[in-house]
Amino acid sequence: MAEVPLRERSVAPGAATQARPPTAPRRMRLGGAFFVLPGVIWLAAFFLIPLVAILIVSLGTNDATGHIDLSVLNLQNYFQAIRPEYVPAFVNSLRYAGLTTVLSIVIGYPIAYWISRYGGKRKVLLLILVMLPFWTSYLIRTYAWMIILRDNGVLNSILQTLGLTSDPIPLLNTDFSVVLGMTYGFLPFAILPLYVSIDRLDEHLVQAARDLYASGRAAFLHVTLPLTMPGIIAAALLTFIPAIGDYVTPDLLGGAQTTTIAKVVQVIFTSGRDWPYGSALGFLLMVVTLGGTLLALRSLRQETFAS
């Protein structure tokens, strides 16, 4: 992917460099291929091949004894994949992923901004602190949330001791606990790209805006925010895409009314033992997520660079 701009850049500087031997770009391209080789092998082995396997399985059928039959490939599973019953679960997935993304950016942006502008010598330490939760398994941290949120858990005990409530407030197994757990889990993924784009922003541009009598708020809205939009988009993608397929958090922190589409797929695979159908639904979800993301990205990018 990096080859094209690289070549353009090397040729672009104009007439003065026209004398460059014509073989140079080709050599560069080969060098680029060499560097990208480990990545390509990795992606082929652990992404492309499994993806093709899922695609092939999704075209098969389940025979009467629950075995995958690939002798006749057809699209039958895809025709059956979209069912009106699944819509509420898909809406739940979208809702949780959307809320998680918005919250992660709203909470993460000020943190990233503060680290970048006021972190001083402690920037690295502060960034390590952001990543500190990764030192503990996500599963254990999610169980910790269960202990905090459950009816006789930490939070309800405090509320009851303070006399703020007599009966425990149902916090666990609700929309609230799912969004809380997911936002908690994905926040570092939002902070890091936000930090990079804020830190890269030339502070002189903000100063120039202030010199031109922009208020602090106006300078932020018209200079800082648009220029850090790539970071916001990256943060949104890094949060939304994994969040929409998140299975563990809604399963552990959710309840009877919080079923997500990932759970539907899991049921088809495990208790339903119908891998072809589950693969079709999973593949379709991936295509929908990818398509939606690309569309959103394109419109966002146009907006960003038009302003």
Binding site: N62, D63, A64, T65, G66, H67, I68, D69, L70, S71, R83, E85, Y86, V87, P88, A89, F90, M146, I147, R150, D151, N152, G153, N156, P168, P170, L172, N173, G254, G255, A256, Q257, T259, I261, K263, V264, V267, I268, T270, S271, G272, R273, D274, W275
Partner: protein
């Protein structure tokens, strides 16, 4: 996905074991003899496997069906029964079994046998036991099926509902009843279960019920009916097991419908009832123990074994086998088809059927087994508990779930997903 199974290698394994048993061969002697017979013998299963792989279509199912010529699970055992009848065991039923094997790999739930069972077995037979644990049945089945012949374990403990599938797919091998004289200890209603006729491939291990538990601190009433799980007074604090067949069974008991029905009309009625119940639920739980002891749930659909564990945290928690009837679950001991230590595996099963050992297992885990001979040595407190040892009238209303397959399974899965989403 590697559910292919090579029947001929199982056959060969069984024949080898028989040869060893008849001639009191050690493994080393056997290997030497095999060397003398020539590499052809050793290669036979591999050649057979290759030939089979070459012949069959890309469908794994085709090869699985090709091995066992019929899908009727009872037909295959009858053939193998004939084979084992030729063994001299029938002449001397309680002959000292051969103990050439020095190791045994047992794959079981954690804390699922008596505290001293492994040590006593090791002392008696001089066989070293490697006890490997799993935490959920999905992991267990994935491990046993990953190579189609038991994943390297010798003995495991699958749920009874899994037996027909495991037999059909060649994951487990027929038992050697001649090495399991203690099988006579089984109660009469356990000697010929529907899932495995005449216990040719499995021996029942423990049984339990699926009823419901409640916390008397939150719910004062003495509950006896499935209707309690539909009681709006407990709204927001009711839990159902995250298990499709158990939930449909609960709804069927509640409505008086046949259990294990695959008729659309029955299933639609059960689904409607579950849909009606869903707004009252806190969650479909896969941790009924944690949810009952940490306050979210006041009442929960639960397995009796889980209730026993709840009482370790909160001794007041109650359990009922509902008056409308309930599900009886059971699990089994089996020998995998790829077992490296098949004799030791059969000896392990026999050892666990011993009246004293079986009682010790029950006393430690709180589960009753199907062992009639053990009943006299089981802790009287366990036997006095009507939830663990129900009266005959209650026991007679217990029903086992069936293993659903194909279109019948799809009927349940589709409705379950419609309910959950």
């Amino acid at each position: 996905m590697t559910r292919e199974h090579d029947g001929s290698s199982v056959d060969l394994e069984r024949q080898l074991v028989q040869v060893m048993a008849e001639n009191r061969l050690t493994r080393r002697q056997l290997l030497e003899r095999m060397g003398a017979l020539g590499i052809a013998t050793a290669l036979a299963p591999i050649v057979a496997a290759c030939a089979q792989a070459g012949l069959t279509s890309p469908s794994p199912s085709a090869s699985a069906l090709g091995v066992v010529p019929t899908t009727n699970p009872t037909a295959a055992p009858s053939a193998t029964a004939g084979a084992s009848a030729s063994a001299p065991a029938s002449a001397a039923p309680a002959a000292t079994p051969p103990t050439a094997e020095k190791d045994l790999i047992v794959y079981n739930w954690d804390s699922y046998i008596g505290e001293n069972t492994v040590a006593e077995f090791e002392d008696k037979y001089g066989i070293k036991v490697k006890y490997v644990r799993f935490t959920d049945a999905v992991t267990q089945m994935a491990s046993l099926r990953k190579d189609g012949k038991g994943g390297g374990y010798d003995v495991s403990y699958p749920a009874s509902t899994e037996i027909p599938g495991l037999v059909r797919d060649g994951v487990i091998q027929p038992l050697h009843i001649e090495w399991i004289p203690n099988i006579v200890n089984l109660g009469t209603d356990w000697q010929n279960p529907d899932y495995d006729q005449n216990n040719l491939h499995s021996v029942p291990n423990y049984w339990w019920t699926t009823g419901f538990t409640w916390d008397p601190a939150k719910i004062k009433d003495d509950l006896t009916s499935w209707a309690s799980l539909w009681n709006a007074d407990y709204s927001g604090h009711i839990g159902m097991l995250d298990d499709v067949q158990e939930c449909f069974a609960a709804a069927s008991f509640h409505l008086g419908l046949p259990i294990n029905s695959t008729a659309d009309s029955d299933l639609d009625q059960a689904l409607a009832s579950l849909e009606q119940q869903k707004p009252l639920l806190r969650k479909y739980t896969d941790d009924d123990i944690g949810d009952m002891t940490s306050g979210q749930l006041w009442i929960s659909h639960a397995w009796s074994g889980d209730w026993v564990q709840m009482t370790y945290d909160n001794p007041d928690i109650k359990y009922a086998i509902p008056s409308e009837g309930a599900i009886r679950g059971s699990d089994t001991m089996v020998v995998t088809s790829g077992a490296q230590h098949p004799i030791a595996a059969n000896l392990w099963i026999d050892f666990n059927l011993d009246a004293r050992i079986s009682a010790a297992n029950s006393n430690y885990t709180g589960y009753l087994g199907p062992n009639a001979a053990a009943m006299t040595t089981i802790d009287p407190r366990l036997l006095a508990d009507p939830n663990i040892n129900p009266a005959a009238a209650v026991y007679s209303k217990l029903t086992e779930l069936i293993q659903l397959e194909g279109a019948d399974l799809d009927k349940y899965t589709q409705r379950w997903n419609a309910l959950r989403a």
